[in-house]
Structure formats: structure tokens, C-alpha cells
Amino acid sequence: MCCTLLSFLYQPTDIPIPEKTKLTFKNKVPQNLKWKKSFKNLKDIRGPATAANILTEGQYGIMATTGGYLKHGHLEMIRLTFGRRVDSNKVFARWRVNAPHKPVTKKGQGQRMGGGKGNVDHYVTAVKAGRLIIEVWGKAELQEVMPVLTEIRKKLPFRSKIVSVDSLKEEEEVEKYLVENNANPWTFEKIARENYLGVSKYLGPYDYKWFGRYR
């Protein structure tokens, strides 16, 4: 039994309505391909995202915490769920990932090994950790769009989190605080750089890039 009162503070609602309020359809197969087949190129999903890692006009969003591939089906799932569950006159969304462009090849069922690389089966979008998938904004609070974002998040092929402008700022502050107030004198960077106990034998090239944060 705790007696508290809700705060009905006035919140500004002068958010401009964009031209396209809904998520747009993304093509399943890209046009004007340079190459038909490509290498696996795992570099695409490795490490932190350098692009689309800050909210631009959105208030909330879904951010990937690990790397992975988005298929066309995932993009459709996001688009349809959002269109179904949210009033497009009030809440708007925007893509922060491109349409699938990376070919994934597969060999037919029951086929023996050999005979070269298989045919292109489908296309995927490579997503790195820390990349935003969609951005959401409008006349709604985070609590209102949380169930929709959670529903989407559960079906994504990689781990993700729901972020807002405030939460991203707070995260940044926490990270800064942890670096400044660390009682441990030993850091990964120092040990790796100075090669203590010949540790370089067990480290890969990416350990010298991200110092134990990503693998």
C-alpha cells in the first residue's frame, strides 16, 4: 500500500508529422548486382557498428547487441507488426537498416558435395553489434510502444535491446564512469600491448583492435 499520485504534466506534442509515417517495403532481391555470388565475409557482422548507432530523429529504437543477419522475412515481420499494432497517425517509424543485399548460397537437397559453389538462395542484411534496426518517434511515451518493440525484438535472429535517447545517454555516462573509477590497475590493453607472459600467443588480431570487448 504505497500512496503516490500520477503526474499529469503537460508534455509537448508539437512533433512534425513526416511524409512517410509507416515503414516502407524492402525489396527481397536487390537490383543492379555487381557480383552474383560473394564470400561469406564474416567481417560484416564482427565488431561494433560504425554506422546507424545513434538515434537521429527518433526517440526510441531497437538496437542489436550482437551481430547477425536479417532476412527479408524479418524485415517484413517488423514492418507488419508495427503497422498492425501502432496508430500510424501518432507514432512513426523509420528503417535504420538497408534492404537485403548480401547473397547467401545453398546447395540443393540431396546433392553430393563438389561441383562448385551452390546457387544464390536468398539475400541478407548484415548487422553489427550496436546498430539500430528501427527508430520510433511520435506522440507516445516509451511505455506505450514498449510492447510492440518487445514483440519484434523477441523474433529477431540476434540479441537486441530497446533504447531511448535518455537510456543511450545514461549508458554513455556509466561507461565513462566505469573507466574513470576503476580500482583494477590492470587493463586488457596494457597487458596485450606489452605482451605480459607472452600472452600474444593466445590473442587474435581483433583483440588488438577492440581489446577484449568484441570477438
Partner: protein, 226 residues
């Protein structure tokens, strides 16, 4: 297994795992004395935001407190809605009203008013009874009957009272009877002074009388002897 594999990551080499463990974040030692760390919040309290709803309720609360001659503060020992309705119905017969306000609302309402002494007995589970007449006896009877509320204090005719004082107040007679009693006390002192002033003379008179009687008796004896 590949290092980037999203399903299952490649297990670390034991030396790298050791390195990861060694370089974990460590909380700096808190140099403050233990008494301070136990009492002071580590996290800074959130900045207080003005809540118009709360201010409105506080205003209403203050208005009803100021307009009543009797304000009693009770501890609410888990009264459900049904009990509260029953209590309210019983108190309504004596023109009293039951109020349940939040602690923050009351704190804001009584801030820098004559009710500020209530702050010591305020807590979350409070129940307030207000009335325009100081009918303490009826209130105490009803409260005793309900059994789920306990008196913490009150304000009767601009006077703060503890539960014991309120009990005594309730047993005191009405104004007319009290006036009569006062008149009796004043009369009694008057008559007493009268009697005190006369007592010496009366004593003397009685003593002399007795003495005279005694003398007569002794004289008679002497006469008989002689």
C-alpha cells in the same frame, strides 16, 4: 566453431580467459566510515518534480483540516474498503468524516501551518477523522468498536493532544456542568474562610464553657467535702 558465430561462440583459450578475468572492472574502495555508508544513500535522490495533481489534493486537504474543530490521526491497521465504509457510516451519525490521504499530500498540506506538529505521527498508513464539533467521546467509542484503527493523536479546538489527553478530554463534563462545579468550588472556599475566621472564637467559647462547667463541678465537690 567460428569466433563470430552468433549461435555458439568459440570457447576461449584458458590464458585469454584468465586475462579477461584479471582485467575485470573492480569497484573502488569506499573510504567513508561505516556509519555514513549505512545511512546516506549511495545513489543521489531524484530531483523533486512539482506535481500539480498533488498540489491540488494538498490544497483540498488543508482546506478540510482548517475548517474542522476536531482532527484525529489514526494508524490504519489494514482496513479494507468494507471496513472503511462501515466506519464512515458509524461516524456520519455524529457528523464526522473519514479521510484517507497519501503521506506526501498531507506533508505538503501541513507544511508551515499550525498542523505541522502532525509531522511526527505521519506515516503511510494513516487515517484521518475530521469533524466540525469536538465530539471526542463518540469518536473514541466508534474507534474502539472498529478495533482496526489506533489513535495516534489529534487536534481538538486548536490544541494538540496525545491519545491519553484525548481520553481525559472525553471524560470531562459538559460546559454547563463544569460551570456549576466551578461555582461550587468558589462557594466552598467562601464558606470555608467564613468558618475559619469564626473557628477561633467558637473554640474559645467552647473551651470557656467547658472550663466554667468544670469549675462549677469542682466547687460543688469542695462544698460537699467541707
Amino acid at each position: 566453431m567460428k569466433a563470430v558465430n552468433t549461435r555458439m561462440k568459440k570457447p576461449m583459450h584458458i590464458m585469454r580467459a584468465k586475462l579477461m578475468k584479471l582485467t575485470e572492472y573492480e569497484k573502488p574502495k569506499d573510504l567513508r566510515p561505516m556509519a555514513e555508508t549505512c545511512t546516506v544513500f549511495l545513489r543521489s535522490l531524484e530531483a523533486k518534480i512539482d506535481n500539480p495533481t498533488q498540489t491540488f489534493y494538498a490544497k483540498m486537504c488543508r482546506r478540510s483540516l482548517e475548517s474542522s474543530k476536531l482532527v484525529a490521526v489514526f494508524h490504519n491497521e489494514g482496513m479494507d474498503a468494507e471496513d472503511t465504509i462501515r466506519l464512515r457510516r458509524r461516524l456520519m451519525k455524529h457528523n464526522m468524516d473519514v479521510k484517507i490521504w497519501g503521506m506526501q499530500v498531507v506533508q505538503e498540506a501541513i507544511h508551515e501551518t499550525k498542523f505541522r506538529h502532525f509531522e511526527d505521527i505521519l506515516h503511510r498508513f494513516n487515517l484521518y477523522v475530521i469533524s466540525e464539533e469536538p465530539a471526542v467521546l463518540e469518536l473514541l467509542k466508534v474507534a474502539k468498536r472498529s478495533g482496526r484503527i489506533h489513535l495516534l493523536g489529534g487536534l481538538v479546538e486548536d490544541r494538540f493532544m496525545s491519545p491519553k489527553q484525548m481520553q481525559e478530554y472525553s471524560l470531562s463534563p459538559s460546559l454547563e456542568v463544569a460551570r456549576g462545579q466551578l461555582a461550587g468550588i468558589l462557594n466552598s472556599s467562601l464558606s470555608r474562610t467564613h468558618s475559619l475566621l469564626q473557628s477561633n472564637q467558637q473554640n474559645l467559647a467552647t473551651n470557656l464553657e467547658q472550663l466554667a462547667k468544670g469549675k462549677v463541678n469542682t466547687d460543688g465537690k469542695e462544698e460537699t467535702e467541707v
